[in-house]
Amino acid sequence: MEKKNQPLQFDDDDEDEVVLFGTWSSSRCTRVEIALKQKGIPYRYVEVDLQNKGELFLSYNPVHKAVPVLVHNGKPIAESLLILEYIDEFWSDRGPKLLPEDSYQRAKVRFWSNFCDDKMIPATFQMVLTGGKAEEVEKAVKEFDELLTLFEQGIQRDLPATFSTHRSDDGGEAMGFLEIVVGINVCNYAAIEETVAGMIDEAKHPAFASWVNAIKEKPLMKELLPRHDQLVTKIKGMLASVP
């Protein structure tokens, strides 16, 4: 069954063909699914086997060969933050916008999204790379805690409305860019807490903790976040393979 190597067939009378190439455990991929679903955009999901990527997938992201890739009417867009911006721009009339209208706030959201991807996610991954060794875990927890302090203080300074649980005029269910980008990692924090160590001191970071805990309860998050038991199994496997 080599379906994934067939060219994508589009019916002529379809308005839009949207295909998302992703992997189930990647928070960068889940981000895109949440954005598509929140905006009510129909799409087809294709799970990529990272050990056997297939020519079709590679043709859509020859530069990085990484997930996620969104293919819209045959045209590929790579990199999750760019995909989210594309979704917001192309389907600007569908549902609430992901990015704020004000250009200063947009700059802040982009800055803190970059901070999440460039600093917080690698530090999260580092927790697993410790292989569970006590001294290294302690160091990794401390490093993440410092980043969390910067993030929490920064958001409170730059985007003070973010941490409030009731958002805008749509009843509070729709998520914005930052909630989708950062909040998605809540499943990783939970799985790492069970397998390695707790990452978030809730007493020290009450604003961040209550924010991500509220995000975890949103219907789309409950529907699309990777399952906790599956993530735990995966992380245990990764821990075992650390020398």
Binding site: V63, I77, A78, E79, L82, E89, S103, Y104, F111, G154
Partner: protein, 230 residues
């Protein structure tokens, strides 16, 4: 033209990231005040306005700071959207592509160049192979186009500006050719086109000062490597 408020740019005399913002402001005709920082002795202004990374450039618009050069460029484009040129295409697919290549310059090409420049021996060879591979991709992407976004200059071109003024400096210090007409005809033509743009040409930091600065940086990294290998 609407009142555009007070614009201040914190940078250094040589920062390749700061230079991008200078080009954007100048091309769009936005008056601004320039403050050159000494990064060995950071000003209170810099520490206050970029407490997270304490890096330049920082754009301060009516007292509000924006950090990270690519974020600043998008901010400028959105805030002064009535001032031509547009720094990004209008079409969402082309915008995504422009942003993709700008990120590629910073996250892939520049680190490869850095490794080739600050290392020696096998690590340097790996860096040189890596930058050669990145340039090949950029050459293929640029082929047949005036600029990375098509007919008009834009954010990905700004992001690669260091290829035009800094890489010749690196080549002089290393005694190596990294970009050449034969392997990179499109990039070479693009470099000439970029240099012909008046506001870009007049903004280049002085070359002799750059050679002195970067030669010292390379020496520092090589000495550090020697010291840590005992």
């Amino acid at each position: 033209m609407a009142d555009q408020g007070e614009v201040k740019l914190l940078k250094t005399w040589s920062s390749l990231f700061g230079l991008r913002v200078v080009w954007a402001l100048k091309l769009k005709g936005i008056p601004y005040e320039s403050v050159d920082e000494d990064l060995t002795n950071k000003s209170d202004l810099l520490l206050q306005y970029n407490p997270v990374h304490t890096k330049v450039p920082v754009l301060i618009h009516n007292g509000k700071p924006i950090c990270e050069s690519l974020v600043i460029l998008e901010y400028i484009d959105e805030t002064w959207s009535q001032n031509p040129p547009s720094l990004l295409p209008q079409d969402p697919i082309q915008r995504a592509s422009a942003r993709f290549w700008a990120k590629f310059m910073d996250e892939k090409a520049l680190p490869s160049m850095w490794q080739a420049f600050t290392k020696k021996g096998r690590e340097q060879e790996e860096g040189l192979a890596s930058i050669a591979e990145k340039l090949k991709l950029l050459e293929a992407e640029l082929e047949g186009k005036k600029f990375f976004g098509g007919e008009e200059i834009g954010i990905p071109d700004f992001a690669l500006g260091w290829l035009v003024n800094l890489v010749p400096v690196f080549e002089e210090i290393l005694g190596l050719k990294i970009v050449d007409e034969e392997r990179h005809p499109s990039l070479s033509e693009w470099s000439r086109r970029i240099s012909d743009i008046r506001v870009i040409e007049e903004s280049w930091p002085p070359r002799d000062k750059l050679v002195t600065k970067w030669a010292a940086i390379r020496d520092h990294f090589l000495a550090t490597a020697r010291a840590s290998s005992g």
